[in-house]
Symmetry: C2
Amino acid sequence: MEQCPKTNTTLRLPVARVPPFEGSKKVYLPSKIHPGMRIPMREVLLSAEAAHEAPVRLYDASGPYTDTVMVTDIERGLYPLRREWLLKRKADARPTQLYYARQGVVTEEMEFVAIREGLEAEFVRAEVAAGRAIIPANIHHPECEPMVIGRNFLVKINANIGNSAMRSTVAEEIEKMLWSIRWGADTVMDLSTGKNIHETREKIIRNCPTPIGTVPIYQALEKVGGKVEALSWEVYRETLIEQCEQGVDYFTVHAGVLKEFVPLAKKRMTGIVSRGGSILAKWMHFHNKENFLYTHFEEICKILAQYDVAFSLGDGLRPGSTHDANDAAQFGELKVLGELTKIAWKHDVQVMIEGPGHVPLNKIKENMDLQMTLCHEAPFYTLGPLVIDVGAGHDHLTSAIGGAMIGWLGTAMLCYVTPKEHLALPDKNDVKEGIIAHKIAALAADLAKGHPMAVRWNDAMSKARFEFRWEDQYRLSLDPELARRYREAAFPKDATSNRCCTMCGPDFCAMKITQEI
Amino acid sequence: MEQCPKTNTTLRLPVARVPPFEGSKKVYLPSKIHPGMRIPMREVLLSAEAAHEAPVRLYDASGPYTDTVMVTDIERGLYPLRREWLLKRKADARPTQLYYARQGVVTEEMEFVAIREGLEAEFVRAEVAAGRAIIPANIHHPECEPMVIGRNFLVKINANIGNSAMRSTVAEEIEKMLWSIRWGADTVMDLSTGKNIHETREKIIRNCPTPIGTVPIYQALEKVGGKVEALSWEVYRETLIEQCEQGVDYFTVHAGVLKEFVPLAKKRMTGIVSRGGSILAKWMHFHNKENFLYTHFEEICKILAQYDVAFSLGDGLRPGSTHDANDAAQFGELKVLGELTKIAWKHDVQVMIEGPGHVPLNKIKENMDLQMTLCHEAPFYTLGPLVIDVGAGHDHLTSAIGGAMIGWLGTAMLCYVTPKEHLALPDKNDVKEGIIAHKIAALAADLAKGHPMAVRWNDAMSKARFEFRWEDQYRLSLDPELARRYREAAFPKDATSNRCCTMCGPDFCAMKITQEI
């Protein structure tokens, strides 16, 4: 297993660094319209054998940690690159990206993400204005490198971290966050439900260059001692504001789990499998009242608008088995999420919609099509979907299959699933496996959609393969160290053997034979 | 890593046994029309907690090794269950399943596969007669448990084994074969290119309960000292007959790589990546003659018809990168394979068609649609397709994504790809990872197509999950031991903790909360 970057929190100025992948270095592109702004990219330098090839520039979500010149300090947090941009906007009542986009303003954030993705800033603005894309970036998270979630951009992936009542410390969570962005997570959700939720989150946000998402009802529930019936709008509201102030960039809010849907979910094979969904169902059952997130939705919008926190409208009724996919409970909730989207947009609050879950391959397209129609093209953010139920121990894979398919069809972000899904909390190796599986799914979707960055990356690899440039193949792999280790363990490094691989040996190498013709 | 069954070849009567998965046992179903024939199935017994649930019967390709009563002996080989069926047919000149199906005869093999899949024997006969399905079963492989490959049946997977000039012994290959069928390989291809090809294959065939496939040109090339230009129809013909006599069930024959296609392939980013394809391209280039497999195709058919060896018409020009997918070289060859299919059928020889390779998600459907049309619905057997090029070290996953999709669209069998693809020969753990990834892909396709056996299996798992029957979840997983290990390492076994999992802990378990409502 790979070494994790160490975060030494005993020093006064601890240095946390995630070394760049071998053969890659961090470069910065200049802004065209915002002086001084610089946009980080990963540049894969090719070997001397490929002197004629330009370096391959890739999207880079790993933050300042992979900059070998910059010094990072977990105690102090990252450099607040957005601070000055935000200062200018202080007077605005609704300083959201959606608000500015609708005003025709190209913000620094919009140009930043445009350059990252190789697109025009005006295109980004128009997508955000239409609600087809969001840039989750709380005004209190100035350390965040802006990124965009929308179906006309690279497909993003989210990694979940977070302690639970059962395990883990602040240092461990920071380490998981660093590890996640090292392997390519585009956003990180802190799903902590245990002790020290506030302190853990503070350290994570101050040190995280990607947007942070949370599910505020988890902390609200901790505040009332875990008693679902004791939850109230007041406790929830206080929690929301606390997290807005800290700098959380998007909130999962299960406002679509209405009372009328609970009987539908009770008929299912696997009931409700969303934590948030089940908490609200229990609360409604106990109080015989409508979901307080639904009844107070406009008030939530007003709070989020002040900080530019985006909604991730939660699918509390997502199916927990392929059997329950695409049922009345699920699609009933989806319709409500579409209605709530319109309300949020009225308040200039950015919105994405969460999706399933467990869905067989033949029912994936219906999910995407309905979401697009019912939710007015707001970005879709799915968990998988897992395409079978019997893959326990390998569910990162069952999820990557569904994720690739739904990503291609238009889903903007995939939430990762690790090999331990359904069984236990992931360890570091599981986090890595989960991220790589979903990076593959996302990249498969990008390539199928023809994103030029994905095409260039894949083509550079194929060319290196045909030309037997092994060093370049390692550098261009999703996991350079692993690719090198696999080959070098099997095959000694020398000039002759470089012209073939161990799979076929020197006499049976198809590419070598082709080149001889 | 799991223990592999040991094959002790130093004893006179060595016992090779692959223990059944925990909680599973081998059962046999009776024939309705062929007295004495019994069809093996895997029965998953559920725990005492599920007293009301019937055992779940699953397809079982693992052969007599998982029968705890039977004694197997690598020296002697498996019991020849088909011997008597074959004796009755001795006088027939073309004793192929296609011949019998066309005559309206339901053979033992047809009924065997029908019962395995829970279908009617007559349906199997009709599918074979139409060329939509094949039952690869050489009359000299009486040890083979018949299985069917066709799009109206369960999607099958193939595992490749085989030594190379660089590595591996007979005992290791036997071990790999046993290991492959233990994890669910439906057929095994012996791709040996090193020494002792004949002896290795003999031991494999005598001990393998699944069909065995080969690529005869590899051995032919060994016979001429690895010199491509020295290959000839005579050497190839002699090799074919040798392998037919031994009992190989299907041959990859690259008869569609025509001279006119080579210039098209030379224009590609990654040329020719099929070993067989490149050998034939080189041979044609040297001799300036048409592919001898094409010019002697009818003679090949006549040989195969005598033994009921099926064609796996090789895609020598499959794309080796997503860049080259669906190009003129690939589809030119596919059209020729369709023409050859008709010729083979004229000789009552069964045919399946090999497919790519490297194909982005958006180009997969065109492959399936064209294959169906150009090859007259003969079964499609694909390698992946891999949906991106940069997954080195994780290509079992890039392949499973494409495999799931093309399987759902109608591909009948998926050739596995292991994590070492493009880098090195797989070890045992890679073989297991490759098989499980492609079992997941195949099962995802089966479920999407609504195969009742896949639906029952997934539903049984989901029900066990909702009812917190952990023992049953392990038993119903693709990898029971791994699922148990993951959970039990994280969570002590006791009555209370059984009602939740470590992911959410006892207070946040959505399913538990749902059940309390």
